[in-house]
């Protein structure tokens, strides 16, 4: 299957995601307002803030799932025909794992749906090879999390949007994730991660959504 697009084709061209004066409203309530940020290639932006400050909402907004009530969101230098969401992975609390399918089948489906990828490679990257033919319903919470994270390796995407990616992971897996992130940044990728805990690598930028105004 042909890759849907190649995010790293123009390796050295500059790209940046710029969000300006973003306002998020949910149910008539303003979750955050006047949030601005910028991420370049090779950079990790770490989002912090208390519960309900809108970290997940901001990630979903960047993914294109909800519209900002005001403000602008742009990817400069990216693939012109694609939305930001189509050039991004979103790893959220819901793992998008089908319990009735095996681990390998889960990944094979996403590989087909998202534009092609190497299932074996993705399984190996998260140490899931051994579990490939078990139904995902038998996995522990941490293993399910790893299966969800395997999508990052499975299909190359420019931007990773990670919502508390380390939840449920043991130390070894956390280190593996840190390694994946480092490699992604080295290749010229971008990461925006919402987290309370250290990710194992130093963020280039930080954005604190702070206490609710």
């Amino acid at each position: 299957m042909v890759a849907f697009y190649s995010p790293f084709a123009i390796r050295y061209s500059p790209m940046q995601i710029i969000g300006q004066d973003l306002v998020c409203e949910r149910g008539g309530r303003t979750v955050f307002h006047d949030v601005s940020f910028m991420v370049n290639r090779h950079e990790l932006l770490q989002l912090t803030g208390p519960n309900g400050s809108g970290k997940s909402s901001l990630l979903r907004m960047i993914a294109g799932l909800n519209d900002p009530a005001a403000g602008t969101l742009n990817l400069d230098g990216g693939h012109a025909d694609l939305t930001i969401g189509q050039q991004a992975h979103l790893i959220a609390h819901q793992e998008a794992v089908k319990l009735a399918l095996t681990v390998a089948e889960n990944l094979a489906f996403w590989a087909g749906f998202l534009g092609g990828g190497d299932v074996g490679n993705a399984l190996a990257a998260l140490d899931l090879t051994r579990l490939a033919h078990y139904p995902a319903g038998l996995l522990s919470a941490g293993q399910k999390r790893r299966l969800s994270l395997a999508r990052l390796v499975l299909v190359p995407r420019l931007l990773w949007l990670l919502d508390e990616p380390t939840v449920g992971l043991d130390t070894a897996s956390q280190q593996r994730l840190a390694g994946m992130m480092t490699e992604h940044l080295a290749k010229g990728g971008m990461i925006i991660a919402a987290t309370h805990v250290a990710l194992g690598l130093e963020p280039a930028r930080r954005l604190d959504l702070g206490p609710r105004a």
């Binding site: 519209d67 979103l90 998008a96």
Partner: protein, 222 residues
């Protein structure tokens, strides 16, 4: 196109592996058909007259039973988020999932209907028209059900609301489905025009349902 097929294949695998889906709907269908002679009395002539309509009503109810699950799981486990971000427009995702629902739930019921017809003395001459009409009509039923499923996807108790929203949409399908299921006999031929109108409805819902369903899904993803 291959993306649509990938999605349909996954949904079919899930439907058959998780059980509960096809089997339960068929069992429900059977139950309704069996209750009918018990409620109306065993008069063979009466049953024969009512058979096509009764089978159609049982089909509608059985399809409704599985309708609210078309998007539910993918919405709850986050798969729909990823699909919405993916290369395939959400309209096509909705279409693919409706087709998968038709293949896994509605079509088996339509195939089983003529067999169940024996239980209520269905006119043998009506078997072929009935099978044809149900095969076509069930396409419209699944597609219309996908609108209801999408509109209620984020609701905890969406099942009853789905029925309330979808049944008015099913009225025309029921009317033309039943008239297309009549045996050829004396008098003017009503089965052929009914079948044509039924096809028109299936085609129209093929175009309109994915649009409406995708719009509804988007409002829940926000």
């Amino acid at each position: 196109m291959s993306l649509i097929l990938a999605l349909i294949r996954r949904d079919l695998t899930l439907a058959f592996r998780q059980g509960g889906g096809v089997g339960t709907a068929l069992g429900f269908f059977l139950t309704v058909v069996v209750l009918l002679p018990i409620g109306l009395g065993p008069d063979q002539a009466l049953l024969q007259r009512l058979a096509p309509g009764a089978l159609w009503i049982a089909l509608l109810l059985a399809v409704l039973l599985s309708a609210d699950r078309i998007f539910q799981q993918d919405y709850e486990d986050g798969s729909l988020d990823i699909m919405a971000m993916g290369p395939m427009p959400l309209e096509l995702v909705a279409l693919a999932k409706a087709i998968a629902h038709w293949l896994a739930s509605s079509l088996p019921l339509a195939v089983a209907a003529p067999l169940l017809g024996f239980l209520i003395n269905l006119d043998p001459a009506a078997i072929l028209p009935l099978a044809l009409a149900m095969g076509l009509g069930s396409v419209a039923l699944s597609l219309l059900a996908s609108i209801g499923a999408a509109v209620t996807v984020g609701l905890r108790r969406g099942g009853l609301l789905v029925s309330l929203l979808i049944l008015p949409l099913y009225v025309p399908v029921l009317i033309f489905g039943v008239s297309a299921s009549t045996a050829p006999g004396a008098g003017p031929d009503i089965a052929t025009p009914s079948l044509l109108i039924l096809s028109a409805m299936a085609l129209a819902s093929l175009v309109l349902s994915p649009l409406a369903a995708a719009a509804a899904l988007r409002s829940y993803l926000k």
